[in-house]
Symmetry: C2
């Protein structure tokens, strides 16, 4: 069924709305692009779902996997017990060379641990990093409306050199995906002074400043994340994870507040009806899921993590991002950038 062009392995069972949202998203992609996907998971269930919707069978294959790792399962334990999990079977398609990339909206910790066990770190890479995209203001025409933050959970604390590598890998990836020549790289910190934030961040600041070929714009503070100052935000995983979840939840809170105020106040409700498109914009800010996937960087294999709340639309976006990354050689570019660090 699959042609010569390498396919994308999609974990059909990963995510809060899996497998329905995943299958629908992949079906959508099969109709409107030339991208080929392998849906990995419960074969009968997947075929059943496909039978109920429109899709292009030339672009979709199914590989059966009998187990599923739940979103809230302890990753280490789940990996040991569930050898036939859809995540692991999908990853094997990539490590075995049948597929060119993996897309999963499932358990993030399990994805990281599985990659550390089954994939290969690029030569010279000390630590893998999980990236995330988030919406922010645009400073100049053509700037990507999404910024890339990394690490957001693969690490807890890091060495300065590891943070430097995150910057290099993130910039290389952003260059390929966002088509920005020299992405602005910033270090998340509690002040603009190079010596602030403790020894690790001060040393990372020095190393980032000293690296030629990197467009390092200095420290970025929490209140500037929503600005267009940085295209790539570098941080330790503990900090990045917490900050990204705060970003997401406050935007959600703003949307909820709008909705609950609307229920209480008929005048506001009247206003809401008029300005639905504006509320949609706020909702888009809150809805990270719609932004598709972000890479787990540092591996020879191309791994795209989609949000656990992924809708069909965000799965479709994640698959398209993966295909674009494959086509434009994102992994090769990241590896070259790391090699050039010396």
């Amino acid at each position: 069924m699959l042609a010569a062009m390498p396919a994308i392995a999609v974990d059909a069972m990963g995510g809060q709305q899996a497998p329905e949202a995943v299958v629908q998203g992949v079906a959508e992609v099969s109709l409107h692009t030339e991208i080929e996907c392998v849906l990995v998971g419960d074969e009968r269930r997947i075929q059943q779902l496909l039978d109920g919707i429109a899709y292009n069978p030339e672009h979709i294959a199914i590989v059966h996997a009998g187990e599923v790792i739940g979103l809230d399962e302890e990753p280490r334990e789940a990996l040991r017990r569930k050898r036939d999990a859809s995540l692991l079977a999908a990853m094997r398609l990539v490590t075995g060379g049948r597929c060119a990339a993996l897309v999963t909206a499932g358990n993030a910790g399990a994805a990281i641990l599985a990659a550390l066990r089954d994939c290969s770190l690029m030569p010279g890479v000390q630590r893998a990093a999980m990236a995330s995209v988030y919406p922010r203001n645009v400073d100049y025409p053509g700037q990507d409306p999404l910024a890339l933050a990394l690490d957001v959970g693969a690490t807890v604390h890091c060495e300065p050199r590891e943070l430097l590598q995150f910057g290099v890998m993130g910039a290389a990836y952003a260059r390929v995906i966002s088509k920005v020549d020299a992405p602005r790289v910033a270090l998340l910190n509690m002040g603009h002074g190079g010596e602030q934030g403790g020894e690790v961040l001060a040393a990372a600041h020095r190393q980032l400043s000293a690296l030629s070929g990197l467009n390092f714009v200095g420290n970025i503070e929490g209140n500037e994340l929503a600005s267009g100052r940085a295209d790539v935000v570098v941080c330790e995983g503990l900090l990045g994870n917490i900050v990204l979840r705060v970003l997401e939840s406050v935007a959600t809170m703003a949307v909820d507040l709008t909705a609950s105020t609307a229920q209480r106040n008929w005048r506001w409700r009247a206003g809401m009806a008029i300005m639905a498109s504006g509320v949609d914009r706020l909702r888009a800010l809150a809805d990270y899921a719609s932004y598709g996937g972000a890479p787990i960087l540092g591996f020879e294999q191309l791994l795209i993590k989609a949000h656990r709340r992924s809708t069909p639309q965000s799965i479709a976006n994640a698959v398209k991002v993966a295909a674009k990354a494959v086509r434009d050689g994102a992994t090769r570019e990241v590896a070259a950038a790391v090699a050039a660090m010396g």
Copy 2:
């Protein structure tokens, strides 16, 4: 002029809208409460401002200080050069016993450093912590709509025992100010598991769990900060500083988005006019300044830091919080809680 009840020393020159906003806020308090304040700063300028507004001269004294530490000055250098700074003169009124508390909306780093130099840490306290309040949802009737987060910038990284003390001090302060018997204390982390977030946070989690008399509710994740799950959020200063600034800026972004969309779209604009009260609620979320001050905890002296963007209203709130803390013995309660840790 001042009666027997101890007065609040107010740094008249600190903050983005100082001295105008500070003098106006204090004048307001002088008219409607029995609280007495000493305004510290440029005497002529302060008197000039007072002459233009209504105030109760029985409740306000002025102490002259000829210098001002700017909001963006390097704290260490500023403290060395400006011995007659309003912040330092106001702090001397507290350390000398003339005033019972300090309120400043000025340079936070300078306030911390000055306190470390001129004030006394309570017996047993290892590190001082700067607290901040932020708005969140309310879980049950009577819960304070504000939560307390600490540390938000006095430290970078901490030892587990220091984080434990932050929890103890924050809970004692919240008990006095919010009138909650057993404030819920949580540890900011990247997951709910006690072992997550690295060695320091895992050890802090164990120590917080083991301390009797503390209502520790476990880890809190970034996306839960806006919930009512915790009244006191414990974190290292680097993390707390960045997270609080993110919270603030995303709320601001939501408000800005509302406004800019309104400019672009006449239908939205029409809606906006109708629902001004709803937008005000969003704005209040963004406007931390309106929440008055939060304490710098760990010192024998009561120090209240107001937001640098403080308006007259927020200065008035900060002064009232300071007076309440004095009246209800917040410092004594915090010291007793630390002593009881053993």
